[in-house]
């Protein structure tokens, strides 16, 4: 059974998702035994791929059936296509603005117990379970499954295709589903998390895809500012302006006083810069 990670890299404005995917791939190579990364690209981003990318991307796949995110700045609209794009039997979905710090290879066997396993618990930089619903009022209000789409495991199965078919419907007919199921407080824009959560709720597969009792697998450090268990008036909406951080030459990520041992979703795109990429490259040579 082949296993690997998958991410979508669609450059948007001045945000270089391809370069972040490159950094992600380097960090996977540096820390994981199973470091396969499939990167899914649109036509424009594909033109930017160079030899250095090909060297570390296990697979480069064209996003099929047109680009649903064309014209949108926040390119999430193709996130229903993963099972059609992945070359692996077992896949973990990642966002490109993530970095791996230590091996989580042992998670794979665990995650294989389900056809689809959605992450439902994330951590602060201090490794505390996130309890704030600051960004998730809609989840609370509508009692949606508390899923974080950017660490979703799936294997190719009937349930998987049924789930992603539902995600496709929600994403491609967002206005219809929003009006019917999602009106109320909180966000009115489409996010992959809400789309995945609604699909799970509509299919009534929460028990099959989520496990709220297990807090530590799968999980990641989620660096959105207002969920860091720091008083909201003390932290900037861009966490990098309030908390010191560094990538050491040993590739350890330190945020505040804490060495990170879980995958880190750094959110702020400028956190990954040329210097850090150079450090990652140097560590692999």
């Amino acid at each position: 059974m082949s296993k690997g990670y998958i991410t979508i890299a669609q450059n948007s404005g001045d945000i270089d998702y391809l370069e972040m995917s490159y950094a992600l791939a380097l960090s996977l190579k540096a820390t994981q035994e199973n470091s396969n990364l499939c990167v899914c690209v649109d036509e424009e981003t594909k033109k930017l791929i160079t030899a250095k990318h090909k060297k570390v991307f296990d697979s480069i796949v064209d996003i099929p059936w047109n680009d649903d995110a064309k014209g949108d700045k926040w390119k999430i609209h193709n996130k229903w296509k993963y099972p059609h794009m992945t070359p692996y039997d077992e896949t973990i979905i990642l966002d490109s603005d993530m970095i791996f710090t230590e091996s989580v290879d042992y998670w794979w066997d665990y995650l294989a117990k389900k056809d689809v396993w959605c992450c439902t618990n994330v951590k602060t930089f201090r490794n505390e379970d996130v309890t704030s619903d600051y960004y998730r009022k809609k989840f609370t209000q509508l009692n949606l499954p508390n899923v974080y789409s950017n660490f979703t495991y799936f294997k190719k199965s009937e349930l998987t295709f049924e789930f992603f078919r539902m995600v496709e419907l929600v994403m491609t007919h967002w206005n219809v589903y929003f009006d019917k199921f999602l009106k109320g407080v909180g966000q009115n824009w489409m996010s992959a998390d809400v789309a995945y959560a609604l699909a799970i709720q509509l299919l009534d597969i929460e028990a099959e895809t989520c496990d709220y009792d297990i807090k530590d697998v799968p999980t990641f450090v989620h660096m959105k500012s207002m969920i860091q268990n720091v008083p909201s008036n003390q932290i900037d909406s861009d966490w990098t302006k309030s908390i010191t951080s560094e990538l050491g030459d040993d590739l350890q990520v330190k945020i505040g006083n804490f060495t990170q041992t879980l995958p880190v979703h750094y959110v702020e795109k400028n956190w990954m810069d040329e210097n850090k990429i150079k450090q990652l490259e140097d560590a692999l040579t």
Binding site: R126, E128, V230, N257, F258, T259, Q260
Partner: protein
């Protein structure tokens, strides 16, 4: 394996810590039974002026006259009185060297043991046990974990802790000592607030470093929370060796107080003047039978 309870006390111009330590020793003796000795670590001056009382309440006295640099602290006695005085708390890191016991339970001179739960620490598999979580008995502090700073590490309370002679404990106290002597550096590294050297901070930093600077759980003492009565509270009445009634400063209006009774539960009473006002009752309830 020898088992001892150790209390530190060095008098300053504001508090007679020695007599408070005697009261705490009395409460420990009345409520715990599985230890061998209760030991006081103090300086020559403090011993000289309280010798009779100390000999009555302690099985063993160790003199440590190590230099104590100025560490000025604001002492509060409810909302009415505040006073700055020297705070002689720098000796705590020496306890590993000074303790004559294989297993040691260290308690502050304002920590009143009122049940036998701490008897469970002896023969522990853990090298060190200390608590991070606390409960403010007045509920003014709503959170049960304090951080050295909003962005920093959780604070462990050096008010009461257990250690056994072991490599881990030795490393811990060596590191605490290093932090003490290089406190400015660590103070900035960990974003500390206030100017006071705090053992709580030094212990927290040392535990954090020894655990690889990752998030971690240190084994806690055999209770979930420390019951902390902060210095805005007062003692109303001492009923017995396991029963104290407190005036707890109202969370909504701190000049108002609510009566709360603490029976069969340990309590950390930070208002030193409140202890001093009730010292005769506290000493009487802890007297050896």
């Amino acid at each position: 394996m020898s088992k001892g309870i150790i209390i530190f006390a060095q008098n300053n111009e504001y508090v007679n810590y020695a007599e408070q330590a005697c009261a705490c020793a009395g409460y420990a003796r009345k409520n715990l039974s599985l230890f061998d000795e209760i030991c006081l670590i103090t300086n020559t001056e403090t011993l000289k002026s309280n010798k009779k009382l100390i000999n009555k309440y302690f099985d063993n006295v160790i003199i440590s006259d190590s230099f104590q640099p100025d560490n000025i602290r604001l002492f509060k006695d409810t909302t009415h009185i505040t006073e700055y005085a020297s705070f002689k708390n720098m000796g705590r890191s020496e306890v590993y060297e000074l303790s004559p016991y294989d297993e040691t339970l260290v308690i502050d001179a304002d920590y009143f043991i009122m049940n036998n739960v701490l008897d469970q620490v002896w023969d522990s598999e853990n090298d060190v046990m200390i608590n991070c979580k606390y409960r403010d008995v007045s509920e003014r502090h709503k959170e049960n974990i304090e951080y050295l700073d909003n962005f920093s590490i959780p604070m462990y309370w050096a008010t009461v802790f257990y250690f056994k002679k072991s490599d881990f404990a030795e490393n811990l106290f060596t590191l605490i000592s290093h932090i003490k002597y290089n406190y400015k550096y660590y103070y900035y590294l960990y974003n500390c607030s206030g100017n006071l050297f705090r053992n709580d901070f030094a212990f927290s930093m040392a535990l954090h470093i020894l655990n690889g600077s990752v998030a971690f759980d240190v084994p806690s003492l055999p209770f979930n929370y420390l019951n902390n009565s902060f210095d805005l509270d007062d003692i109303y009445r001492v009923n017995s060796h396991n029963d104290i009634i407190m005036y707890c400063a109202d969370a909504e209006r701190i000049t108002n107080h609510l009566l709360s009774r603490f029976k069969n539960v340990d309590i950390h009473i930070m208002n030193k003047k409140a202890i001093a006002r009730c010292i005769n009752d506290l000493l009487a309830n802890g007297e050896k039978v």
